[in-house]
Symmetry: C2
Subunit: 141 residues, 2 copies
């Protein structure tokens, strides 16, 4: 089970942004340099974040991105959702009545994985961008 770079970068970039005043746009170039993430890759990621209205773009020189909501209102869940970083523990299709074995009943471990998925998603539901910025600044002191 591992976290992909796309998800990790999305959060990393947004924490980077959230540390500023949220008035002046932050350019991807700057984020790229500060965080060591490929600019082209960041562009893909921010395109998704924009579509899900997590950030707003400002085009042209001096442009960049700004947060579209208060940092407190942006949860990890929202970010992961935007970039298609999903937690997937079961093998079967959840809606389907069939199990991962193709049989008519769910497999022996289906409920376990479902629990696990909830357990992980709870974590993501609780953490906001604000928490992350705070955490980080507090630790620097």
């Amino acid at each position: 089970m591992k976290l992909t770079s796309k998800g990790r970068y999305a959060v990393m970039a947004l924490v980077d942004m959230a540390r500023f005043d949220n008035i002046n746009p932050v350019s991807l170039r700057d984020i790229s340099l500060r965080q060591g993430i490929s600019l082209d890759y960041l562009e893909q990621i921010f395109s998704k974040l924009r579509k899900k209205e997590i950030v707003q773009s400002v085009r042209g020189t001096q442009g960049g991105y700004v947060l579209n909501k208060k940092a407190r209102e942006i949860k990890l869940t929202n970010i992961f959702d935007a970039v298609d970083e999903k937690v997937k523990t079961v093998q079967c299709k959840k809606e389907s009545k069939k199990g991962c074995n193709g049989k008519a009943t769910k497999c022996l471990t289906h409920n376990l994985w479902d629990e696990l998925e909830n357990h992980i998603n709870n974590f993501f539901d609780q953490k906001s961008l604000e928490d992350l910025v705070k955490d980080n600044s507090e630790r620097r002191i």
Copy 2:
């Protein structure tokens, strides 16, 4: 973030085994048929489980595998550990002093991912094979 089939199958197979008396060995062929998992793949998985002493093998006709410990004492953590299903959320090497960005400090989100990893591992530490068998039989009533 997703769970791999190897990990899922390992647990599935062990739950299947744990439902029996633990005296007569259970053959992989039976598990394969009951759970719809490739026999060859199961063999790879059980080879690892045996090396980590989660199961014991009985060769020859009527052979198979038996649990090597009480179901209560086998935690998900042990199983995942045995089959190399590891939770990996950070990108950097944990022991290293360097961050994932190659810089001398850990990145902005390192602590977050570390927390996440603990959160997930807690779940695995708590669940035992016994719990899973119980859960399952209780739900059948």
